[in-house]
């Protein structure tokens, strides 16, 4: 896509000229960049490692030759060549890898995490393929003919996310080109050791058209990439291009266990070496131009300051006590209906909102009926996916990068583990490592919790595993704050990957239903507030902190504790589990000096433990008594009575509070 032409203006000499010369010049430039990076690495001027593409340069060059403004490229760990081929930004790349503020990502991303307009790379194998599919879905929804491209390696063929993506790309006919660079080695492992079946048999099995080329025949490669790109552009469906190639240098640095003779053989057929030999004069000039440009880029980067310093770490100190406001919450509909209505209301208001998940289309409308009828009301905006949680979250990431407002439903919170890589290694990282060039307004909704006899893998509360990821938020709804209002406010302000913890039992509870007399319901001023149930007229004897689906149980326990034991409890129920506002909890504990932390999930290193630690750090000596109630360290039995005995409930809370 570069407009720069170092050769094209020259008179043709030695038979190379025109576009092919430009492409060779670009390949030479890429090689020079990579060689310089290896040199800088040896001098200790780089951080981490570098995965060079020496020998594979032509792939990026050939694909870039046919892309247009508006096309979007997703690359992997070996992305320097792709990046330079597509953006021509040698200076930004070199500075980035040298950790400088002038780098394309301000030095935050480094070698594997590059981002420029229309270009994203990430270092997790296969992770970008569902993201590319999501981007392709967004491109397909728009009226232009832009496409998405995802570069993968043959090593990526071992990743499940790839197949989830291929399946969806074909089934939904998404305009995405998968370019597989087949260099025969996954890091150090020779392909026959790990690959069964054929490479192209895989996309073919999904009904995806395939093409083949190699880097030793650049002109044919250019031809095939053109065919592939145009096929995707024309059909608005996927295509799979296999490019056989060979990596002439180590996977990263010093980890080459291949037979040196084999490597040597490939050096001899290396297209760039062959070209430079055949066109000595032009080649030398190309090399000199490239060398000068890269050297200048290195010099400029050396003069630039390192990545902006880390911000002052937050002290975690509570410097403001919460402002409480009386809540007005008339008795309303069931939680599930409130969520449904809010989704519908916001989809009407905001065309960017799309829903993705398993079984969410009508007439089924989701395992818990949250999305019932929405597919009929909003055609083309509610997507039933295959059972592919990684792809669901990955599609969401791609849609979010495209500026849409995806809402992913993970049918059971337990399956969030299958989507964890997309949430943790993609969604949560994009904004920072791409230096604020993107936001990821991704919403993942999922019900947690047991007590319905679904057994060990469909009843857990796994949110603790997703707490504490910078740039994300984890929110837990409950019936004392209208979930409809919650979603209205979330859609109005979502600016980061957001995990919304719903609860299976809570779906059927009426919002703002019967409430104990003598307790005031109050919210903090946060749009997604912490809720407090304050005993009126007395200081609390005990503070109980809980969230989400535990609130009804805690309320019942608190009622009984006063009714039968005359213990006045104050309930603090945060909606934001992360980032956590400790103020409301701290304030209550300073009054009661007794703290009971209640959560349904396993207690080890969980939310309650974190709250306890923070309280002790903030106000040592404030607490006379502290206890936690959580699931015992035991899988959840399916058998009803046993499950009830195991999971925390009203009874356990009363026993512990007394």
């Amino acid at each position: 896509m570069s407009e720069e032409a170092t050769i094209a203006d020259e008179e043709p000499r030695g038979g190379v000229a025109g576009p092919l010369a430009e492409h060779y010049a670009k390949a030479v430039l890429i090689r020079q960049v990579e060689q310089t990076l290896l040199d800088l690495f040896a001098k200790g001027e780089l951080f981490g490692t570098v995965h060079t593409c020496i020998g594979q340069e032509w792939t990026g060059v050939a694909v870039a030759a046919h892309l247009r403004r508006g096309d979007v490229v997703f690359s992997n760990h070996r992305c320097h060549g792709h990046y330079v081929a597509i953006t021509d930004d040698v200076e930004g790349l070199v500075a980035e890898i040298m950790g400088r503020q002038s780098g394309v990502c301000g030095g935050r991303g480094g070698s594997q995490h590059l981002c420029a307009e229309g270009f994203f790379s990430n270092g997790v194998q296969g992770g970008m393929t569902p993201v590319a599919a999501g981007m392709a879905l967004a491109l397909k929804r728009s009226s232009n003919d832009n496409i998405a491209v995802a570069f993968i390696g043959d090593g990526t063929l071992g990743e499940g996310a790839l197949y989830e993506s291929l399946n969806i790309a074909s089934r939904w006919q998404l305009p995405v080109l998968i370019v597989l660079e087949n260099n025969l080695y996954a890091q150090s492992t020779f392909q026959p050791q790990t690959l069964a079946g054929g490479i192209l048999a895989r996309p073919a099995a999904f009904g995806i058209p395939t093409l083949e080329a190699n880097t030793w025949q650049p002109e044919d490669l250019l031809d095939k990439t053109l065919q592939a790109v145009e096929q995707v552009r024309r059909t608005r469906g996927p295509c799979f291009l296999r490019v056989d190639t060979y990596r002439l240098m180590a996977h990263s640095k010093g980890d080459d266990t291949r037979d040196p003779q084999e490597v040597q053989r490939h050096w001899q057929r290396d297209p760039i070496s062959v070209f430079l030999e055949a066109h000595a004069a032009d080649g030398a000039k190309m090399q000199r131009t490239a060398l000068e440009r890269v050297a200048a880029a290195v010099e400029a980067a050396r003069r630039a300051p390192f990545t902006a310093p880390l911000p002052e770490p937050p002290t975690g100190a509570v410097d403001q006590l919460p402002q409480w406001r009386p809540a007005e919450l008339p008795a309303g509909d069931r939680v599930v209906n409130c969520i449904h209505d809010a989704l519908r209301r916001n989809m009407e208001r905001d065309q960017r909102i799309v829903l993705i998940g398993e079984d969410i289309e009508g007439p089924y409308g989701g395992a818990f009926k949250v999305t019932k009828n929405l597919s009929a009301e909003f055609p083309g905006r509610v997507f039933n996916t295959p059972i592919s949680e990684a792809a669901i979250a990955g599609l969401g990431n791609g849609l979010a990068l495209a500026g849409l407002r995806p809402v992913c439903e993970i049918m059971f919170g337990d399956f969030l583990t299958l989507a964890a890589d997309q949430f943790i290694n993609h969604a949560a990282k994009f904004r920072y490592m791409y230096n604020n060039q993107v936001q990821v307004p991704l919403i993942i909704r999922t019900p947690m919790g047991g007590k319905r006899g679904y057994g060990a893998t469909h009843s857990q509360s796994l949110e603790k595993h997703f707490l504490g990821l910078p740039d994300t938020q984890v929110l837990a709804i409950h019936h004392r704050f209208d979930p409809g209002v919650f979603y209205d406010r979330l859609f109005a302000g979502v600016d980061r990957p957001t995990l919304v913890i719903e609860n299976k039992l809570l779906y059927g509870v009426r919002v703002g239903g019967d409430r104990s007399d003598g307790f005031a319901l109050e919210y903090t001023s946060d749009p997604l507030p912490t809720t407090r149930l304050r005993p009126e007229g007395v200081l609390p004897d005990l503070t109980i902190v809980c969230y989400g689906g535990m609130l009804p149980d805690v309320e019942k326990a608190v009622d009984a504790l006063f009714e039968e034991h005359e213990i006045a409890c104050e309930i603090i129920c945060p909606m934001r589990l992360y980032p956590l506002d400790l103020g409301p909890i701290l304030e209550s504990v300073l009054k009661s000096r007794r703290l009971l932390l209640v959560e349904e999930g396993l207690g080890f290193a969980a939310f309650g433990a974190e709250v306890a630690a923070q309280i002790l750090e903030q106000a040592p000596g404030a607490i006379e008594v502290m206890a936690r109630i959580a699931s015992p360290e035991h899988p959840i039995p399916s058998c009803g009575p046993l499950e009830k005995e195991l999971l925390p409930g009203e009874k356990q809370i009363i026993q512990r509070a007394r």
């Binding site: 003598g518 307790f519 005031a520 009126e536 007229g537 200081l539 213990i567 300073l590 009054k591």
Partner: protein, 456 residues
């Protein structure tokens, strides 16, 4: 009048509306900041625990303020200012006022002072809207036919709250340990005599307070007592003649003795002996208006005259029912004098947060005898002291009181009398006896009758 006249902004402070509220909630501003108001125009509406009231502009001018609707504002702190140009600078709040209720008190990372922190929060809490009875509270209500409306806007009402309003004796027993340190302690109430009708009266708030303090005192001490008998020829009469207050003398001498016996101005807590670094003597008195124990601060450092003056002032306040709360708090030792009522011997109760109380009994004289006696009783916490030390304290006090008696001249008679048998000169004449001058070994002069002289 306009603020133009002075050119300076007029500061408007929150007035004190009643004795209960140290702060008021700003319900709503009636004028926007920057508005020009006329004198007497309503500026804002406030709510106390009792009522709502409006605050009016004292002068004409432009209003400036920082508080927002809903803020809790301390009594006496700045609400707004009215100036001619609306650009007056807010004065620095004196620290004392600033420390009063703030809308968002910052929380320091250090360990909070328990009492202070809780106090700060309480003042922020809105008044309860409703009420809710516990099962036991409900049962008590119905059993005693109490009107639940009595507890309107009380929030959570427990059995102990109902019991506090209950005619005693009630037949209920509240088992178990009270969970809250803030509420009243649990109470064991004996059942009434079977089949005997009774009438009930409510216990006054001040009496309930007294009960709480004394109960606390007896719960946290190991009470013991020592009694010492003091011979006297009329210490009280002598003091009266000399124009001195025996109470002041007791406070004065006890104050000094407590420097020597600090264990009696101390308290026991958490297995530690805590010594007060001030001697503040509470003097229990009851002149028919209820028992009160005003405190004479730093009694060990004040002159007898100062103490007498303070006591007189407190007495006046007591009689006018004007004793301020501050003058009732902070005692480290208590003296109770029941001589007025004629009690010769009694068992004083140690007060909350103290380790001893001195009781002074009435003087007793046999008929026709001028030599009498009275009791000094020291009830003390055996955790912090012992009988021997208590006795030493009393012996020392007795010695000092006798010295006063002597200094004030003992019993005064219109005519000369025998200082041994107390017979007056006229009586002696009737039995044909006479008085002679005597000089005692200590050099003091007196008179002795011929009968006693013979007997000696």
């Amino acid at each position: 009048m306009s603020c133009k006249d002075k050119g300076e902004p007029v500061l408007v402070y929150l007035p004190k509306e009643n004795n209960n509220d140290e702060s008021a909630r700003l319900l709503a501003w009636r004028v926007a900041a920057g508005t020009r108001v006329t004198a007497g125009q309503a500026l804002a509406e406030f709510e106390t625990s009792k009522t709502t009231f409006e605050l009016y502009a004292p002068v004409e001018g432009i209003v400036q303020y920082r508080h927002r609707d809903g803020d809790e504002i301390a009594v006496g702190s700045l609400v707004c200012l009215v100036s001619e140009d609306g650009r007056a600078a807010f004065p620095e709040e004196p620290p004392k006022k600033a420390a009063a209720v703030q809308t968002t008190p910052p929380v320091v990372a250090a360990a909070p002072q328990p009492g202070l922190a809780v106090g700060a929060f309480m003042s922020r809490e809105p008044v309860a809207q409703g009420r809710r009875f516990s099962a036991r509270a409900r049962e008590l209500l119905s059993r005693h036919g109490l009107d639940p409306e009595q507890f309107a806007k009380r929030g959570l009402v427990r059995a102990q709250d109902v019991l506090a309003c209950l005619p005693v004796p009630a037949e209920a027993t509240i088992p178990g340990e009270a969970r809250s340190q803030k509420g009243p302690q649990n109470t064991r109430i004996l059942g009434p005599a079977a089949g005997v009708p009774y009438r009930t009266e409510q216990i006054s708030r001040s009496k309930r307070l007294e009960i709480a303090f004394l109960r606390s005192g007896s719960q946290h001490t190991l009470p013991s007592a020592v009694t010492l008998t003091c011979p006297t020829r009329g210490l009280r009469a002598a003091a009266e003649r000399a124009g001195m207050s025996l109470s002041a003398v007791l406070v004065y001498e006890a104050g000094r003795l407590l420097q020597k016996f600090p264990a009696f101005s101390s308290f026991f807590a958490d297995d530690c002996h805590h010594f007060y670094q001030e001697v503040n003597i509470a003097l229990a008195f009851d002149a028919g208006q209820g028992l009160k124990t005003p405190v004479l601060r730093r009694a060990d450092a004040k002159s007898l005259q100062e103490l007498e003056g303070e006591l007189r002032e407190l007495m006046v306040q007591y009689l006018n029912d004007e004793l301020a709360v501050e003058s009732l708090a902070g005692g480290t030792f208590t003296i109770t004098d029941l001589a007025q009522e004629g009690a010769a011997f009694f068992s004083p109760l140690i007060n909350q947060g103290q380790s001893a109380i001195l009781g002074v009994g009435a003087e007793l004289f046999a008929p026709e005898q001028s030599q009498g006696w009275f009791h000094l009783i020291l009830a003390f916490d055996h955790q912090l002291s012992n009988g021997r030390e208590a006795t030493q304290f009393l012996v020392e006090l007795r010695r000092r009181l006798l010295a006063y008696e002597q200094a004030w001249g003992g019993v005064h008679r219109e005519e000369p009398f025998c200082q041994h048998c107390e017979r007056t000169l006229s009586t002696l004449r009737e039995i044909k006896a006479h008085l002679v001058e005597e000089v005692r070994p200590d050099g003091a002069k007196g008179q002795v009758c011929s009968l006693c002289l013979r007997g000696l």
